[in-house]
C-alpha cells in the first residue's frame, strides 16, 4: 500500500474514532437554554448509580403515623377508631379479633407476592417488594435516570422518567377484576352479562411486543371468549366499550361492529403504558387479583426518589475507573508493542466508543456489574490481540518476514480466538435470554462486546497493515527484534 493511501485511510479511521469518542463523552452547553448531553450522560443507570424510587402502598383501613397525627389534630374521636401497629395505624374493625388480624395481614402478604410477580416481568435491573410492619407494601424500583437527568441537566428526561416510574407503580398495583364498561369515567357500568362469570374468563393471557417503534398489547382469547366477545360487540349500545381493572380505566377500547376474526386482540399503546398494560392485564386475566385496594385506587400514591447507595458522584467515579482501565490497556500495549501498541490503542478506543453507543441505543440499564462486564469485554479484545501479537513475534523469531509472520500468526491463533468468541457469544446470549434484570443486562452487554471484540480483532489486522505499510522498519514498528540468521550455522 502506498504512503498516500495509507495516510488517507489512517486519517479517516482516526477521525471517525476520535469524533465518535468526543460525541460519546463530552457534554457541553449549546446556548443559554440548550445543552448537548453526551452518549455517556444519556445512558440509563441502575439503582446503585442513580438511586431508586419507592412508594408505600397502604391498604384501605391502614394509615401512616403522619396521617394519624393529622386526624388527631382535626377530630380526636375519629382517631379512636385506629390502633397502632408499629409505624402505622389500623382501623380497629379490621383487627378486632386475632383471626381477623391474621387474615388481613395474610391478604396483604399475598398481594405483595402478586405485586412482586408483576414487577418481576417489568425487566428492571433491580427491584424490591417488601411488607412494612405487616400492613404496608413497599415497592422500590430504579429511577432509570440518565446521568444528565440525575444531575438535572436534562429536566425533561428526569420528569419523564419519574412519570414513567409513577405510572408503573400505579398500574402494577391496581386491584380489582378485569371488566369491560360502557364508558371511561366513574359512572360507567359493566356490560359483561353475569352468565359469563367475569370478563377475565375471556382471556388466556396477555403480552407485550414492539415492531418498528410501535408498541402493542396482545390479548389472547379463549375459544369461548372469542365467541362471547363477538356477541358483546354486536350488542354494544353506545358504540364504545372500555377496559377497566378495578375502577381504573385503561386506554384500551372496543367499538361497535368491530369484527374480531382471530383469537388475539392487538392494541397499539404508547411506549409509556404498553408494558404496564400488558403486565396488569396478564396478571388479572390469570386470576392474580389483589384482595385489597391500595392508596385509594392509586390516587394517594407518592413516589419518593432516593439517593443511590454508592453516593451522588458514583457515576463519575465509575467512569473514571473505566477510563483508567482503558488508559491502562493503552499504556501496556504501547510499552510492549511500540507503534503496533498504538494500533491496538486505536482499536481499544473504538471498542469503548462502540460499546457506549450500543448501550445507549439498546437502552440497557447500566450498573456496576455491567461496568465489570464491559471491562471483561475490553480484556477479551486486548488479550485476543496480544495473543496474536505474541504468535507473530514467535513467527518472526524463525526468520520470517513480518508479512509472512502476520499471516501465519493470525492463522495459528484463529481457532483459539474463534472458539473463545463463539463460546462467549452463546453463553452471553443464554444469559440475556434466560435471566432477568441486571444479569440479563450483563448478558446483553457481553453479547455486544463479544461481537465487537471479534470484528475489531480482524480490524486490528487491517489497521496494522494500513499503518505499517509505509514504514521501512516493520520489526521496530511492532517492537519485535529481528532474528539475525547465522549463515555459518
Amino acid at each position: 500500500m502506498g504512503k498516500v493511501k495509507s495516510a488517507i485511510i489512517t486519517a479517516l479511521v482516526v477521525a471517525a474514532v476520535v469524533i465518535l469518542s468526543l460525541f460519546a463523552t463530552i457534554s457541553c452547553p449549546l446556548n443559554e437554554v440548550e445543552r448537548y448531553n453526551s452518549f455517556i450522560s444519556s445512558i440509563h443507570m441502575g439503582s446503585d448509580l442513580t438511586g431508586e424510587a419507592y412508594a408505600l402502598f397502604y391498604p384501605e383501613g391502614v394509615i401512616s403515623e403522619a396521617d394519624y397525627k393529622l386526624i388527631v389534630a382535626g377530630d380526636e374521636s375519629e382517631a379512636e377508631d385506629y390502633e397502632s401497629r408499629g409505624s402505622v395505624y389500623v382501623e380497629k374493625e379490621k383487627i378486632d379479633t386475632v383471626d381477623k388480624e391474621r387474615e388481613f395481614k395474610s391478604s396483604i402478604a399475598d398481594d405483595a407476592e402478586i405485586i412482586s410477580a408483576r414487577f418481576g416481568e417489568k425487566g428492571y435491573s433491580k427491584y424490591s417488594v417488601s411488607v412494612v410492619d405487616g400492613y404496608v407494601i413497599r415497592v422500590s424500583v430504579p429511577t432509570n435516570f440518565t446521568y444528565a437527568a440525575y444531575k438535572g441537566y436534562d429536566s425533561t428526561a428526569r420528569n419523564n422518567e419519574l412519570t414513567q416510574v409513577s405510572s408503573s407503580l400505579n398500574y402494577l398495583t391496581l386491584s380489582g377484576e378485569l371488566d369491560l364498561r360502557n364508558g371511561n369515567d366513574d359512572t360507567a357500568t359493566s356490560i359483561i352479562p353475569y352468565k359469563y362469570h367475569g370478563f377475565s374468563t375471556f382471556f388466556k393471557d396477555a403480552n407485550y411486543y414492539a415492531i418498528g417503534g410501535n408498541h402493542y398489547v396482545r390479548l389472547n382469547l379463549t375459544d369461548d371468549g372469542f365467541i362471547n366477545l363477538n356477541n358483546i360487540i354486536g350488542i354494544l349500545t353506545d358504540g364504545t366499550a372500555y377496559f377497566f381493572v378495578g375502577d381504573t380505566c385503561l386506554g384500551l377500547q372496543l367499538t361497535y361492529g368491530e369484527n374480531i376474526t382471530s383469537k388475539t386482540l392487538n392494541f397499539q399503546v404508547s411506549e409509556t403504558y404498553a408494558k404496564d398494560y400488558s403486565i396488569i392485564l396478564n396478571s388479572v386475566a390469570t386470576d392474580n387479583v389483589l384482595a385489597n385496594d391500595y392508596n385509594n385506587g392509586g390516587a394517594d400514591t407518592e413516589v419518593i426518589a432516593l439517593s443511590p447507595a454508592y453516593g451522588d458522584s458514583a457515576v463519575v467515579w465509575l467512569f473514571v475507573l473505566l477510563l483508567l482501565v482503558l488508559v491502562g490497556a493503552i499504556v501496556i500495549s504501547v510499552v510492549r508493542y511500540k507503534k503496533l501498541g498504538l494500533v491496538n490503542a486505536l482499536i481499544a478506543l473504538a471498542f469503548s466508543a462502540i460499546m457506549i453507543t450500543a448501550i445507549l441505543l439498546t437502552e440497557i440499564q447500566f450498573t456496576v456489574a455491567g461496568a465489570f462486564v464491559l471491562v471483561l469485554g475490553l480484556a477479551l479484545l486486548t488479550f485476543s490481540n496480544f495473543r496474536v501479537f505474541e504468535a507473530v513475534r514467535k513467527e518472526t523469531l524463525t526468520g520470517r518476514t513480518i508479512q509472512a509472520s502476520v499471516k501465519t500468526g493470525y492463522r495459528k491463533s484463529l481457532t483459539t480466538i474463534l472458539d473463545l468468541h463463539i463460546v462467549l457469544l452463546v453463553v452471553s446470549a443464554l444469559l440475556a435470554l434466560i435471566c432477568a434484570g441486571e444479569l440479563a443486562a450483563c448478558g446483553l452487554i457481553l453479547f455486544i462486546a463479544t461481537i465487537a471484540s471479534y470484528v475489531l480483532h480482524w480490524f486490528t489486522r487491517f489497521m496494522w497493515f494500513v499503518i505499517s505499510s509505509p514504514v521501512k522498519d516493520k520489526f521496530g514498528f511492532c517492537g519485535y527484534k529481528r532474528e539475525v540468521l547465522d549463515d555459518e550455522d
Binding site: 465509575l318 456496576v368 463463539i422
Partner: protein, 340 residues
C-alpha cells in the same frame, strides 16, 4: 514469563486443597443455614431491617440558611449515638413537598432504643422549627419485614443460566476438542464455581443480589481460561517435536505457556475491583455497600486463577492418561477381533 511448577505431579495436593476448601465452606454454610442467618451471610438485599424515616414537608427553615437534610442528619446522628444504635445505610429521598431521610438498622436492633432515638429526634426538630404553622415534621419508626421475591428469582434464573452455559461449554468442547478436554472444561467450571460458593459461605462476606452476577462472571472467566488452556494443549499434543515427551510433560509445558494469560486476566480484573472500591468509597454514603460486591468479585477472580491455572491442568493429566489407556485397550480389542 514461564514457570516450572510441574503441576501434573501435584494433583493430590491440589485436590486436597480444593476439596478441603469446598467441604469446609459448604459445611460452614450448612451449619449457618441451620443455626444462623443462612447459607450465605445475606446482606441488605435479602435481609429484614428496621428503619427510621424522617419526612419533612417544608424546606423553608426560617432564619436559617443550612440545608435541612444536614440539620436532620446531625440530629439523627446525635440521637443514635446517645441511645447506642448504629445504622448501616443512609439514604436521602425527594418528595413533591419536601423530602425524606432514612436510616436502616439491623433487624436485631432493640425497638426500645429506636423509640428513644425517635423521641429525641422529634424533640430536637420541634425545638428547631420555630414557626409551627409553616413547617410540619413527621418522623416514624418503620420495622420492615422484607420479602424479596425478586432476589430469589434472580438467583434461580442465574442458576439455570449457569447450568445451561456449563452444558453448552461441555458440548462445544466435545465437538471441537476431545472428550477428555471437555471433561476438563466442565471440571474447571464446576470447581471454580464450587470454590467461589464455598469461599463466599466460609468468609461470611455479606452478599446481595450481585452474588449471582459475580458467579456468572466467574464461569465466564473460566470459559475464557479453558479456551486458552485447551487450545494450547491440543496444539502441543499435535506438535511433532513434542511427541517424544510424556503426556504429563506436555500438560506441564502447556500449563506453563498458558499460565500468564490465565492469571493475568483475573489479576487485572481483581485490580480493577480494588480500584473500584477505592474510587466508589470516595463518593459512597456507606462504604459497606461497596465492600460486598468488590470482595465478591475478588473471590471470583481468585477462584478462577487458581482453578484454571493450577487445579485443572494437574487433574487433566490423569484424564489424558485414562483416555489414552482406554483408546489403547479399544485398539488392541479391535486388532484382536480382526486377527480372529
Amino acid at each position: 514469563m514461564k514457570t516450572n511448577f510441574r503441576l501434573s505431579s501435584k494433583m493430590h495436593l491440589f485436590i486436597i486443597i480444593s476439596t478441603a476448601l469446598i467441604v469446609i465452606g459448604l459445611l460452614v454454610g450448612i451449619v449457618c443455614q441451620c443455626v444462623a442467618n443462612g447459607f450465605f451471610n445475606y446482606g441488605e438485599d435479602y435481609s429484614n431491617y428496621k428503619s427510621i424515616t424522617v419526612t419533612y414537608e417544608n424546606t423553608d427553615f426560617s432564619g436559617n440558611e443550612e440545608v435541612p437534610v444536614e440539620i436532620i442528619k446531625s440530629y439523627c446522628d446525635d440521637a443514635f449515638s446517645k441511645t447506642g444504635v448504629s445504622s448501616y445505610e443512609f439514604a436521602e429521598g425527594e418528595t413533591t413537598t419536601g423530602g425524606t431521610v432514612t436510616y436502616k438498622f439491623a433487624y436485631s436492633t432493640d425497638n426500645g432504643k429506636l423509640e428513644d432515638a425517635k423521641r429525641a429526634i422529634n424533640e430536637k426538630l420541634a425545638e428547631f422549627v420555630k414557626d409551627d404553622t409553616a413547617k410540619i415534621f413527621n418522623s416514624a419508626i418503620a420495622t420492615s419485614a422484607e420479602t424479596l421475591l425478586g432476589g430469589g428469582k434472580t438467583v434461580a434464573m442465574a442458576a439455570i443460566a449457569i447450568s445451561v452455559a456449563i452444558v453448552f461449554h461441555f458440548i462445544y468442547f466435545v465437538i471441537r476438542y476431545k472428550l477428555t478436554m471437555a471433561l476438563g472444561a466442565i471440571l474447571a467450571d464446576l470447581h471454580n464455581l464450587g470454590l467461589f460458593i464455598a469461599l463466599m459461605a466460609l468468609t461470611r462476606i455479606p452478599v446481595g443480589s450481585s452474588i449471582a452476577t459475580f458467579a456468572v462472571i466467574t464461569v465466564l472467566l473460566t470459559v475464557i481460561g479453558t479456551c486458552f488452556l485447551f487450545d494450547r494443549m491440543r496444539k502441543n499434543f499435535k506438535d511433532e517435536e513434542l511427541k517424544k515427551l510424556t503426556a504429563f510433560e506436555i500438560v506441564d509445558k502447556t500449563a506453563d505457556e498458558s499460565f500468564v494469560i490465565n492469571t493475568v486476566m483475573p489479576a487485572c480484573l481483581a485490580t480493577v475491583s480494588v480500584i473500584a472500591f477505592v474510587l466508589l468509597s470516595i463518593s459512597s454514603l456507606s462504604p459497606l455497600a461497596i465492600i460486598s460486591p468488590v470482595l465478591c468479585s475478588f473471590i471470583g477472580f481468585i477462584s478462577c486463577a487458581y482453578g484454571t491455572s493450577f487445579f485443572v491442568p494437574s487433574v487433566y493429566a490423569r484424564f489424558k492418561l485414562l483416555g489414552d489407556g482406554f483408546k489403547k485397550k479399544s485398539r488392541s480389542k479391535t486388532a484382536k477381533s480382526t486377527q480372529k
